[in-house]
Amino acid sequence: MNKVLPSFEEAIAGIPDGASIALNNWGLAGGPQNLILALRERGVKDLTVMTQNFMYTPFPEEVVVMPFMLLPQMRKLVAGFFAAASRYADTTNLPSEFIEKEKELEKEVIGHGNFTAVLRAAAGGMGPFYSPVGIGTTVEEGREKRNFDGKEYILFSPLQPDFAFVRADKADRYGNLTYNGTCRCLNPVLAMAAKTTIVEVDELVEPGEFSPEEIVTPAAFVDRIVVNEVGGRGSYEYTMKKLHELLSIPEVRGAIIGAAKKFVDDGEDN
């Protein structure tokens, strides 16, 4: 039972045009950077991308690779939060291709809670469910509403991604996974939700090195694993190093440390 593959190319083999792919995006870490690069390289088309935060990043690609980069290959987006590239078009050198593609994109933006819940319903093989969140808002539009015991709810259907790209910290070859800090985020949910779960990790440990209690994602939810090169692109060490290189530039430092402000107007809270 060895789920480890030698390359990212092999790990994404068999992903067809039109596939749906779910992945985590919150901060610089916890995203499957090398899996995204491999998918871009292969040029699969008409993808449905599912991520909690789909947004432009001001960081250069050499620092961090985000789902946003897949835009030219996408047909549809399902997200909890979405910030359009067009908002930043005047302040960045974003290719016009991205702006155009983004306009055509079919978008389903349902908030973080309902987004996570449609994935969890799929993970558990459950049917549709009623959520109380979004009542009285635009999230209601086009969806069934129903009153139970005097309270209104919106009906959501489970969404099962064909593939999850999961970023973990460590794995054993059976597929048991652990995560570091806030990199955990959506990753364990994704691993459980997808038909096929492909994992990018920094370190491979021997079965038995994990205590059975510390494992966050049990092996049953994992299909393929690729291990990042030590210190190589997309690894924790690499990304830390690149970020601290930027932080060492005084003019850039403030923007990064107060990064939130880039995406925040008066009231917005993503």
Binding site: R87, G113, V139, T239, I257, A259, D269
Partner: protein
Amino acid sequence: MKEKLSEEIMALRAAKEFQDGNIINLGAGIPNLCAMFIPEGRNIMFESENGALGYGGIIMVDEFEKVEIQHIDAGGRYFLPKEGMSFFDMGTSLDLMRGGRLDITCLGAYQVSAKGDLANWAIPGDISVGIGGGMDLVYGSKRVIVIMEHVTKNGEFKILNECTYPVTGKKCVSVLVTDIAVIEPTKEGLVLKEYAPGWTAEEIQKLTEPKLLLADDLKEIEL
């Protein structure tokens, strides 16, 4: 024009609402400043939607060497570790939020209505940005504290009979802290509880569309 409260003073006033042992989610912007003004002797656990609870202070520019990429909050700020801190997945985090385990959510707003509706995620007709966790936060939190400027930069009402911007949640605001007043939405309407130094109820009413009721114990903001 009389002086309005600064961002820091608004955050200081809002933070007075924090009780010992509270679990609190702070939105980006002014709400985040509240962490600097926690009343003495009150232990607070901050929760971040991406799956962290009980973390330490936000890293400031002069401490940038301490930045760890796996210690990031929902607004993209880096935090310090703290004993008793925990990490969990986003499913658990959203359960925590919706399920009623958050004592306070503190966030900014575009508009607040007479009924306590909140609009803070979108501008009408602008589909370039969308939703996030705000709807979950205002649905699930025991108390929702909104901090915002009383009127827009152009002097337009932000406190309205009805929100004209897309709403984040209906009847969800517990208390509103502005740069000139503290207002509490009630069944009877908006109650003016406190005013900034030098401001009168009449002056505040002029900058507020709905009729304000005056609290029996209406007083100057204590800080």
